[in-house]
């Protein structure tokens, strides 16, 4: 099987790996790079637990052909906290009990970050739309929506 070289930045750090033909980005992040924040839920684009930001925009890493990420800037939930300091979204998720089993959480955080990076004071409808591609089987969504609105209301800066 042929292997192709691939370089990108992950949460600001340079990465260089070899990928197989047809391998998806989620697989590369988890297996080759060891970033376990993005989760494999469905591999079908329906759950959103694999959501990462590519050049600032939310993408489903399970449906992204890895070799297309050459030169890209990739952000995952692993890059949100600054040492012991959590990102405001992470604080708000904890305070609002927006994570139960936590499987959806890293995808939800990245979908929310993409929203707040461009729309610092979103409406409730905009929050709902931003996480429309992310499934949560535990919380019933209300705590997640409230957490994102609260993080926004605190008026902090949202670049990780």
């Amino acid at each position: 099987m042929s292997k192709k070289p691939l370089q990108f930045t992950l949460n600001g750090a340079n990465k260089a790996v070899f990928v197989e033909d047809g391998q998806n980005l989620l697989d590369v992040l988890r297996r080759e790079v060891g970033d376990f924040a993005p989760k494999y839920g469905c591999g079908q684009g329906t759950c959103g637990s694999c959501t990462v930001l590519i050049d600032g925009k939310p993408h489903l890493s399970c449906l992204t052909l890895a070799e297309r990420s050459e030169g890209a800037s990739i952000e995952t939930a692993s890059g949100l906290a600054d040492g012991p300091d959590l990102h405001p979204l992470q604080d708000a998720f904890m305070e609002h009990f927006a994570a139960q089993c936590g499987y959806c959480t890293s995808g939800m955080l990245m979908a929310a970050k993409a929203l707040l990076d461009h729309t610092p004071t979103p409406t409730r409808e905009e929050v709902v739309e931003a996480i429309a591609g992310n499934v949560c089987r535990c919380t019933g969504y209300e705590p997640i929506i409230n957490a994102i609105l609260d993080a926004a209301a605190r008026g902090r800066r949202f670049s990780a």
């Binding site: 099987m1 042929s2 033909d21 047809g22 998806n24 591999g43 079908q44 684009g45 959103g48 959501t51 590519i54 925009k57 939310p58 993408h59 489903l60 399970c62 449906l63 992204t64 052909l65 070799e67 297309r68 979908a111 993409a114 929203l115 709902v128 739309e129 931003a130 996480i131 429309a132 591609g133 992310n134």
Partner: protein, 273 residues
């Protein structure tokens, strides 16, 4: 199972590779083809792609617009010139899907998908296709009707007419779950008016047949009609002519037929979906 991925300079070279290969597929945004790959679908053995710039362009073409096949739903939403297609692009998936899903891939998406293709049909879409034998053009309706036969090529772009006025183009996607929604049915209408009468109406449905379709019976019934309850009555009576909707997890065939005239009426009278 091994899959090979090859990148070509141009759409034409990619089209040659598809024509020469077996189980060879073009990669657009990948939202459907990567699903198949992740499932180990044996019909996907080889993938070809291209960075051909012609497929990324959005530009005026005569009185209309030409939109590259690699243009994504998010690209459409970011284009002021394509304002008339914003409601259709916004109807596709969630934000991540819209950053990935391309116009070209939408033409191949199986029912009940194909929301953007439905809008393009109502705007007299013409497909520019690179195939093993060179470039050719064909009406989108013809392309969709023979889709599985003509798919041995690469769609480079689609040309559409610009609606006479923003008000003349209407798009409704009917779904049961909000905001992430798969279509019960999708309706698009282009309704140019002349002295208060409709002239040259175009009506298209998604999810009412195996591919998005034009609805000639409704178009003919609207010719010369006024846009009021009386004027559209004949069109509503033939709302489902030529349709062959599926029974699927979203809705039964019966349900789709029952609600089509209701939603067509709302679309034509400018009422909320």
């Amino acid at each position: 199972m091994t899959v090979t991925v090859t990148t070509y300079e141009t759409a034409t070279e990619a089209a040659h590779a598809i024509a020469a290969g077996t189980s060879t597929h073009f990669l657009g945004g990948g939202t459907l083809i990567m699903r198949a790959l992740n499932e180990g679908d044996p019909s996907v053995r080889s993938i070809v792609m291209t960075g051909d710039i012609a497929m990324k362009q959005i530009r005026p073409a005569g009185a209309g617009m030409e939109i590259g096949a690699a243009v994504t739903m998010a690209d459409i939403l970011g284009s002021h010139d394509l304002g008339f297609l914003h409601s259709a692009a916004r109807a596709v998936g969630g934000p991540a899907i819209r950053n990935m899903a391309t116009l070209g891939g939408n033409l191949f998406a199986r029912s009940p998908y194909g929301d953007l293709a439905t809008a393009l049909l109502a705007l007299d879409g013409v497909v520019v296709l690179a195939s093993g034998g060179g470039m050719r053009e064909m009406p989108l309706s013809e392309f969709l009707a023979g889709r599985d036969g003509v798919a041995k090529g690469v769609v480079v772009s689609v040309r559409v007419s610009r609606p006479a006025t923003l008000e003349a183009f209407r798009f409704h996607k009917v779904s049961r779950v909000r905001p992430k929604r798969i279509a019960v049915l999708t309706l698009a209408a282009h309704l140019p008016m002349n002295s208060g009468r409709i002239t040259g109406a175009r009506i298209a449905y998604g999810a009412m047949a195996p591919t998005p379709i034009r609805v000639p019976a409704v178009e003919q019934a609207l010719e010369g009609a006024s846009l009021d309850e009386q004027g559209i009555a004949r069109a509503l009576a033939v709302a489902c002519e030529g349709c062959a909707p599926a029974n699927d997890a979203i809705a039964s065939e019966w349900y789709r037929r029952e609600v089509t005239p209701v939603h067509l009426k709302r679309l034509l009278l400018g009422q909320a979906a």
